[in-house]
């Protein structure tokens, strides 16, 4: 089967999963349905021949599932009332969605064929990464050699995020100790 049909199948699978995640009453089933969406994205990356992305997406999906289950499983968040939409709001939303859809169909028709004209930069990496970096995995060569400065930024972002998490959670502790005194 051609790639397009697999992709359409996966996309409909993802849309179904998100609808189930929104509509289902049980919070655990909802989290699992969100996981279905992430795993479908991972499979789509695999079909599009991007195994690096597929691995990272797959693992982060599992990680996110664990955090979501840990965060939400004990609280009865499913008791929340569903939001009520007025008739006018619903009509306006539907109209906007249809307009955006029509516009994007028009816009996507103007795009070049998927992956067909390789970008000049990408072609340079494909031609020279083996000789210049001696890395069999060209994605690694781009991420850690040609674009290592960007990766340093990513590591800094991660470091800052963890620093923020610990700072926020430490404030609560300090307050508690102060209250006990």
């Amino acid at each position: 089967m051609p790639v397009d049909i697999w992709l359409i199948f996966l996309l409909s699978f993802m849309i179904l999963g998100s609808i189930v995640a929104l509509e289902i009453k049980d919070i655990l089933s909802s989290i699992v349905a969100i996981g279905v969406v992430g795993l479908a994205v991972s499979t789509a990356f695999l079909i599009l021949q991007a195994p690096d992305l597929a691995i990272v997406q797959f693992l982060f999906e599992i990680f996110a599932l664990i955090i979501l289950v840990r965060a939400f499983i004990r609280k009865d968040y499913h008791q929340l009332e569903p939001a009520r939409l007025g008739r006018l709001t619903a009509a306006l939303t539907a109209l906007t969605l249809i307009a955006v859809f029509a516009f994007s169909v028009h816009a996507f028709k103007g795009l070049p064929e998927f992956g067909r004209p390789t970008l000049a930069t990408a072609q340079y990496y494909l031609d020279h990464a083996g000789q210049q970096v001696k890395s069999a995995n060209i994605v690694s060569a781009v991420v850690l050699d040609y674009r290592a400065y960007d990766t340093l930024g990513e590591v800094t972002v991660l470091f800052t995020a963890i620093l923020g998490t610990f700072t926020i959670l430490r404030v609560r502790k300090a307050k508690k100790e102060g209250g006990e005194k």
Partner: protein, 149 residues
């Protein structure tokens, strides 16, 4: 005492048996980042999940006994510094910042592509520990017990 914490004995036994394999897979993904799909980020998440499975199966107090969280914190925080040091190495060798000055080796060998292998190791350890420590910090506060944990 440790029997009561965490999950059932089946889960604990399976975790103990499978844990070395998870770690091996994580290290494989990190070390072969320049040869096969994967690399520091993917392998790091595998390591974080291995630590997490210990925490989930054996419970937080037992995991705290086994793992020295303070040292893990220090290793995690030194990740960006090590990355910077590797970058400055290129500067010190007379080139640009983050210039790949190590010997390149041969294509398809494990010892190839210079800086990519050490940088992958740094990123892997950093990502793994920070994700695990983030979950560790988040579970410090138990929503059921409220503020008294």
């Amino acid at each position: 005492m440790s029997e009561k914490q965490g999950l059932t004995v089946i889960v604990k036994t399976v975790t103990r048996a499978i844990l070395p394999v998870i770690f091996l897979y994580g290290f494989y993904i990190i070390l072969h980042g320049h040869l096969s799909p994967g690399g520091g980020f993917g392998g790091g998440v595998v390591l974080a999940l291995a630590f997490l499975s210990v925490m989930l199966a054996y419970g937080r107090p037992t995991a705290q006994k086994w793992l020295n969280i303070r040292i893990l914190h220090d290793v995690e925080s030194s990740g960006p510094l090590l990355f910077l040091a590797v970058g400055l190495l290129g500067l010190a060798a007379g080139g640009a910042f983050l210039l790949n000055v190590l010997g390149k080796g041969r294509l398809f060998n494990l010892w190839s592509s210079g800086f990519i292998l050490p940088l992958n190791i740094i990123i892997g350890v950093k990502v793994g520990l920070s994700l695990f420590l983030a979950v560790w910090a988040l579970t410090e506060w138990d929503p059921e017990k409220g503020d008294d944990t």
